[in-house]
């Protein structure tokens, strides 16, 4: 049997949870915005950081524009997926620096890119956060020209653009 006091208790617990959750989220460095970007047509879908910790990174949603930039060779393209997945296929010329090895490979990465370079970061697709996290870290390190390819490798492949495999980069 469910009593009235049980129901009141539920509301009391829920109120405590809402207040604590919002409070902790507001103060936490991992806190998220109250509304996220969940429309794949508008770029990488993600919860987004709460305002205190937000870093704005340019997102490119147009695959044809990405293709032009890649072919022009003016941008350094970084693939932040794991090496095994990168080896299966990646954007031609992309360098592989997995997000998971960011700290370990920082030195090697900094020998290949400088804060003045124009950098394009991508990962698996619109539901993948790694490109955003990676790009945010670069911006925090002082890199001024960092952009994200929102569609990631999934869209690149879907568009039928050239794909490089293991050891097939020029």
């Amino acid at each position: 049997m469910i009593f009235k006091r049980d129901i009141l208790g539920c509301f009391f617990i829920l109120s405590i949870c809402v207040m604590t959750g919002l409070g902790v989220n507001a103060l936490s460095p991992n806190g998220i915005a109250l509304r996220g970007q969940w429309n794949p047509d508008q770029g990488v879908v993600m919860a987004g950081a709460n305002k205190t910790h937000a870093v704005d990174v340019l997102q490119i949603n147009d695959p044809l524009k990405v293709k032009r930039l890649v072919e022009s060779g003016t941008m350094i393209v970084l693939d932040v997926r794991w090496p095994e997945i990168y080896d299966l296929g990646h954007i031609p010329g992309a360098l592989n620096f997995p997000l998971g090895d960011f700290e370990e490979e920082k030195k090697e990465m900094l020998s290949r890119i400088t804060p003045e370079d124009e950098i394009l970061v991508y990962c698996a697709g619109v539901t993948c956060h790694d490109s955003h996290t990676f790009a945010t870290r670069l911006v925090e390190m002082g890199f001024a020209h960092v952009a994200i390819y929102a569609g990631g490798f999934a869209e690149w492949e879907e568009m039928g653009f050239d794909v490089a495999g293991k050891g097939t980069d020029p």
Partner: protein
């Protein structure tokens, strides 16, 4: 008052023994459900962004509510777990736990029926996808719901004495 009960092997068990056994079962279930929900909430509290992405992956929740759900649900889990273990508002905590389990079961069933693959996000972020994984989740949640309903009945029996 020492009414006797006959059990399968022919031995006799007094109501006092039965009460003690019920008490132990109640404690075990409270500890099991409480600690499971506390454990399950932790990674979601630490990484709300990843949990929000998992909720998006269920392809059920309205986009404008995903972040708020990702912020609040883990705290409902941890607080209900604590109420169950400490005994403070344990009936209400258990009601919410059972309600959440019913919700999880409906979510998983709905996605199974329509063939939509998703990450559970139950105990870690990035659980394996796949139909069998979803079936296993469903069985596990049904088992936990059974334990939750039984525990609530034990609470009722105890309160009616």
């Amino acid at each position: 008052m020492n009414k006797l009960f006959r059990i399968k092997n022919g031995a006799h068990l007094s109501s006092m023994d039965l009460g003690r056994h019920t008490g132990i079962i109640e404690w075990v279930l409270r500890l099991f459900l409480g600690s499971t929900f506390i454990f399950a909430s932790w990674h979601k509290i630490v990484s709300p962004d990843q949990f929000a992405t998992i909720l998006y992956g269920y392809a059920i929740f309205p986009h404008q509510f995903i972040n708020v759900l990702a912020i609040v649900i883990p705290f409902v889990e941890i607080v209900c777990g604590i109420t169950l273990i400490t005994g403070l508002l344990k009936r209400s905590g258990l009601l919410l736990i059972n309600a959440m389990l019913v919700g999880f079961i409906l979510l998983i069933s709905f996605n199974l029926i329509r063939g939509h693959e998703f990450d559970c996000g139950c105990f870690s972020l990035g659980d394996t996808k796949g139909t069998w994984s979803s079936v296993w989740l469903l069985v596990r949640d049904l088992g936990m719901l059974g334990a939750g309903v039984y525990l609530f009945r034990l609470f009722n029996k105890k309160d009616s004495r």
